[in-house]
């Protein structure tokens, strides 16, 4: 089975800190995605990547950046964390081609205080 691993289940950070959320997948998938989930808003796409060293903005990229130096790893970076970035962050990967079954990690619940 494809496994998507997020490095932390829970994180608490202070306002203004630089925060790294790490995601690793083990099935050589080309595509990787970062979503955030908030009550009443569903899942919203922050950034995605179709290949190493490439990135595309999703629907809510403001305040975030990403890095994909290796195919299996996709990092989400909060340059200066703010309280409105308190959320559940979900990473996903998928293979390219017609069938794009997505596999999600178990999520990182980030609290910014």
């Amino acid at each position: 089975d494809v496994k998507v691993t997020q490095s932390s289940r829970y994180l608490v950070k202070r306002t203004g800190e630089k925060v790294f959320l790490e995601c690793v997948q083990d099935m050589d998938h080309e595509n990787m995605f970062w979503y955030r989930q908030d009550p009443g808003l569903g899942l919203r796409l922050i950034y995605f990547s179709y290949d190493v060293k490439m990135k595309e903005k999703g629907d809510i990229p403001e305040g975030y950046s990403v890095s994909r130096e290796k195919k299996e790893r996709f990092s989400l970076i909060l340059e200066s964390a703010s309280t409105n970035q308190t959320s559940m962050y979900l990473c996903a990967s998928s293979s390219g081609g017609r069938y794009q079954g997505y596999t999600f990690g178990s999520g990182t619940r980030l609290t910014v205080v």
Binding site: F33, G40, G42, L43, Y99
Partner: protein, 108 residues
């Protein structure tokens, strides 16, 4: 972008009951998936179903692409079915857009 609407937003059932969840979308899609998010936050892919009907145990799904809707059926519900059910679609771009989900509670 493509819009996804799910109904009902909340559903409470007694164990053993059947239910139907609906997903409407605003444009033609290349991909439609149903996910279940368990109480611990894990999203599990239930069906990849851009068109047609599929069944997996007590769950089945039907997508009528020409009418832009999909239905998820849960039969003989169990308490472990509780959680949030999401419909997600992919339009012309290779990215999924999610609905806001249906919160299902199955009581013993």
């Amino acid at each position: 972008g493509i819009q996804v609407e799910q109904s009902p937003p909340d559903l409470i059932l007694q164990e053993g009951a059947n239910s139907t969840l609906r997903c409407n979308f605003s444009d033609s899609v290349n991909n439609l998936q149903w996910f279940h998010q368990n109480p611990w936050g894990q999203l599990i892919n239930l069906f990849y179903i851009p068109s047609g009907t599929k069944q997996n145990g007590r769950l089945s799904a039907t997508t009528v692409a020409t009418e832009r809707y999909s239905l998820l059926y849960i039969s003989s519900s169990q308490t472990t079915d509780s959680g949030v059910y999401f419909c997600a679609v992919e339009g012309s771009g290779s990215r999924l857009t999610f609905g806001e989900g249906t919160q299902l509670t199955v009581n013993p």
